[in-house]
Symmetry: C2
Subunit: 437 residues, 2 copies
């Protein structure tokens, strides 16, 4: 009989894309160093690919490549899932966990869709799921929320968690590009996919927001409960106007606790483009970088900053989770499972208190400003300032109304009613303002 302590841990890698191939390369090249940190030998038993021919020139040794998922998964102590997407990743991950193999995954879409089922499969099989790489790639944020802040009460998480859109908005801000120009550039340089919908519509950020919210509030927030607005409505003019007034446009995933310590306590999770003052720490996050800003009752403000994408950057986190999973198995420590013990209700967007910047095209008649201000006041919303951006000799003028914080439902009503005013030719744009009271 072999001594289990001397048997190398068997590691299966599913997927050989940019993260997968980097991960396999390092598991092989840095084997001795990683084994020393684990305290046990390990061996990569195979790498699942869809098509062997497509990987003929891959640096992965040909004898490791396989198209047979089940035998690879069933023989493994640790399964590293880097396929992405829902299926077949979900079937593979749940199979591995039910087999009792720990799973390391970078798959935010899968977790956002099925985290409850995945944790349940792990409970059944006595195996743990490690997913630090699923949000903000190289940045440690899952474990800090889950462990380092477990004694505190988190009130708000605001994250730049999508590198593509941050790259696009940053180019528009720094170099004055228009949206289409910046998007084309992002695709050309590999910051965005050829079909950029998941990024620019905010869906990728929304998947990450549900994961962050679950950890921050100990409450399961289904993906469908995340209000999601992307950056497709952001124009070069808005970005430049923001710049002129000391602000910057960022796409944020926001997880917020509402009415803390009252019977109405609830959480809202949303993805939305916002204006931030340039002095806010998140305003300095450039290019494809990511950052997550956390406000907690005791700890105050914290920020975690780093690379949010990239094969080698993501593999750093995948390898860490692999070492931790292996150490857990070697130490024979019981697996940990996320439990959503707080069960806070999920509040719709209209309960959130926001600040709006509303840009209007207005007629040039006397009394216009009074009519607009009167209508807003009538709806109970307080105006912070009004700016007349352009005032040609004749023709329509542009008016920018900034409100104080008010419930979303009131702000949305303000926008709807402004559209009906005779004095208002059109509502050009509406954007939320964050990072100020």
């Amino acid at each position: 009989m072999t001594d289990p302590a001397s048997t190398p841990l068997k590691v299966a890698v599913l997927g050989a894309g940019s993260v997968g191939s980097q991960t396999v390369r390092q598991l092989l090249e840095r084997h001795d160093e990683l084994a020393a940190r684990i305290g046990r030998e390990f061996a990569v038993t195979g790498v699942l690919v869809r098509n062997l021919d497509a990987h003929r020139d891959s640096p992965i040794p040909a004898e490791l490549l396989t198209t047979e998922a089940e035998p690879l998964i069933d023989g493994a102590d640790i399964v590293i899932e880097l396929i992405g997407g829902i299926e077949p990743a979900r079937t593979y991950v749940e199979r591995a966990l039910r087999n009792g193999a720990d799973v390391v995954t970078a798959n935010k879409a899968l977790l956002a869709e099925s985290q409850v089922e995945i944790f349940e499969a792990g409970r059944e099989g006595g195996a743990e799921t490690w997913y630090e790489a699923a949000v903000a790639a190289a940045i440690p944020i899952i474990r800090p929320l889950q462990d380092s802040m477990i004694g505190d009460r988190i009130n708000r998480v605001m994250g730049i968690v999508n590198g593509s859109t941050n790259y696009i908005l940053d180019r528009m801000d720094v170099d004055g590009l228009g949206m289409q120009e910046a998007l084309d550039e992002a695709i050309r340089l590999g910051y965005a996919e050829a079909d950029p919908s998941a990024d620019v519509e905010g869906w990728d950020a929304a998947a990450k927001a549900t994961i962050l919210a679950g950890l921050a509030f100990h409450t399961h927030v289904p993906r469908e409960a995340v209000a999601c607005e992307g950056i497709t409505g952001i124009t070069g003019e808005l970005v430049q106007a923001a710049k002129a007034s000391g602000q910057v446009v960022k796409l944020l995933a926001v997880c917020e606790r509402l009415d803390a310590d009252t019977p109405d306590e609830a959480v809202n999770v949303r993805v939305t483009p916002v204006l931030l003052p340039r002095t806010h720490p998140l305003a300095a996050v450039h290019g494809g970088m990511n950052a997550v800003f956390v406000d907690a009752m005791d700890a105050g403000s914290l920020m975690f900053y780093g690379a949010g994408a990239g094969g080698v950057e993501t593999s750093s986190t995948v390898l860490a989770d692999f070492v931790l999973a292996a150490k857990r198995i070697v130490r024979d420590a019981p697996p940990e499972f996320i439990t959503f013990v707080d069960h806070l209700p999920i509040a719709p967007l209209d309960r959130v208190r926001s600040r709006y910047r509303i840009e209007l095209q207005v007629g040039d008649e006397p009394g216009t400003l009074a009519a607009i201000a009167g209508k807003i006041a009538e709806l109970g919303v307080s105006v912070r300032d009004v700016q007349q951006i352009s005032a040609p000799q004749s023709g329509p003028a542009t008016l920018v109304v900034s409100t104080h914080r008010a419930p979303e439902r009131d702000l949305q009503q303000v926008v709807a009613e402004l559209r009906t005013l005779d004095a208002v030719e059109s509502v050009v744009g509406v954007i939320r303002v964050e990072g100020v009271e």
Copy 2:
């Protein structure tokens, strides 16, 4: 017989200063919430103080206060040590660990001095030491280095880890205060102790640097091996000159891997005031805030930012470690111990490659600049630029020489030789430059 799973965990708190009293308050006030996260009841069995009378007006219930350390420690499942300093903290911590009680501590001085002995006591007693609060208070940095980056290779850690000195330097930078003025203000506002030596001499930062280096390099770096220079030599003039050239003075704890992947691989750990370009993420860390910047082979650059001091901020981290220790005991997971598996040699400062900014008072004779440049070139150091800051009609002029990166030993020789030059009246100041190549 009582079911151990139904027995509340017994928690002893040692110390009732600003962190201790906040921690006790929250353990009592937020008992139900914390117990739910742990999954087991717990009870604070006592709070060790030196003098009962001194705590007569404390919010801590009088019946919890005790001056008897041994019975309190010996009856506890978890001991939270918030006394600070070496003794009697070390005796208490080691006693608790040998008893098999997990220890939560915020005591950086103790860890810097005795981490090896403390981990050894834990190994003997089968108990774990939790010390996230010992470095950068509210910021999760211990566990990210220990766990989240365990699959990567860290090349450099640069931290603003002392809030007092950052407050002083920030006031000098933003408000133009002199060193003494800023220091007095820091003491008056409670950012610094009445005896500020541990802060301004860099000793506090050096203690934290040994802890960070141990985690980053899997190598024990004794406190004595940390080269330590404080901020007492920093003048208001230097801070303003730096500001004028787009730089800022910060006191950094630097942990650096030298000659990676060569037979000469080693680590150097130092505390030193440096000039940083204002575009560096650490330059934006104001007031008493802390931040730790990490450069890793795969992950690239990461930054962790937040409150580095304060009773309630530190208690956030102490409570998290308490919950994690309690969960470990409830789950019956084996304790984890830091093991310094890499045993890298520790390199003296003179092997580090630095950039220097050297300010000289020079005579007004022709040929001065040539003589100085010639001497520096002769010693093999390359000059980046030379600036003549003031040039009155007659009398001495101020010359600022910025070098390229060169070995410290060569740079130190440059400074020594410049002092002997006839053309040089005095070397006014020397400071390292970081954050640029």
